[in-house]
Amino acid sequence: MRATRVIPGRPQASGSAVATTIIDLVASTLAKSPSIDAQAARAELEPAASLLSMLANSGHLDGETLVLVAGTLRMVIDVPAGEAALAAQLDVRIPTGTATATDWTLHLPKPGHLSPAIEAVVQQASHLTAEPAPTDAPTAAAVTVDLRRLGSTG
């Protein structure tokens, strides 16, 4: 399942406010899964708040650069800045697609000159990565059903 959520940045919100909203959205989305500890996810994301704040203020989260992948969900978190933010509406509805998730990954952008900062944060968090997100939404695990056996049960 693909989803896009929008968190308008400056001038609608400060970088730190955007970072807090991103962390709330990701933790609330992961809380839909009984297999993921959402509090642990939040604790892992909070040290990255400064980096998310900077990326939002610098315009690096504008578009499809920040992506949460969990279960069958691929969620883009778009943070427009400037005039685009002024025209945008906050959309932080909790998407579906994480009910069966057992793991998660938050993909961050990695602009070349910011690589040292991104790597410093990613190395401290096992679920954050600077690798590009898969372009397709994950699919549910395939289940093989033998139709002949299914027909003979009874």
Partner: protein, 167 residues
């Protein structure tokens, strides 16, 4: 056929949030690009609230970023704030991408270097107290020649201009 139009009004509050965010964004990026570690550069993000507050009260004239390598302090960058008549029709702009492209010209700082940011008020104003900021008791060093990177961000009523003293 009906014609519909929409008008977006940009307020002074929009301008101050926009400028404060863009300024801490461009400063963080610049400091990382010239070799400051993330552990040092990230504290710039904590200044966003104070900068926005000083812009709201129209008291902030300049931010001066100095390098504080052991034994010396040198001016690296300044951000000057210009205030003008508000026009709600003026768009909120930034030139962070353009500034970013020029950062490659800057030399790297020594590994043990650190930096200080000093806020200077406009001549007739004083800066309100803000958490995390204290009064500077020593004079700023002479700044020398500067290279004007350009307007980092602008909006109705104000603009922020970044200059480098390292080129």
């Amino acid at each position: 056929m009906s014609t519909y139009t929409t008008t977006t009004t940009r307020t002074w509050s929009h301008t101050t949030t926009h400028l404060a965010g863009a300024v801490v964004g461009v400063l963080s990026e610049t400091l990382i690009a010239i070799g400051f570690s993330w552990d040092k550069a990230k504290r710039v993000n904590t200044y966003e609230t104070a900068i926005a507050a000083w812009l709201r009260e129209k008291s902030l004239a300049r931010l001066t970023i100095t390098s504080t390598a052991p034994g010396s302090e040198r001016v690296m960058y300044t951000i000057d704030f210009d205030y003008f008549e508000e026009d709600g029709g003026q768009e909120l702009r930034d030139q962070l991408a353009r500034i970013r492209r020029q950062l490659g010209k800057e030399s790297q700082v020594p590994a043990d270097a650190d930096f200080t940011i000093t806020a200077t008020p406009r001549p007739w104003a004083s800066l309100s107290d803000q958490p995390g900021w204290s009064t500077r008791v020593t004079a700023l060093p002479e700044s020398g020649r500067s290279y004007r990177y350009g307007t980092a961000a602008s909006g109705p009523g104000a603009a922020a201009v970044l200059s480098s003293y390292r080129l």
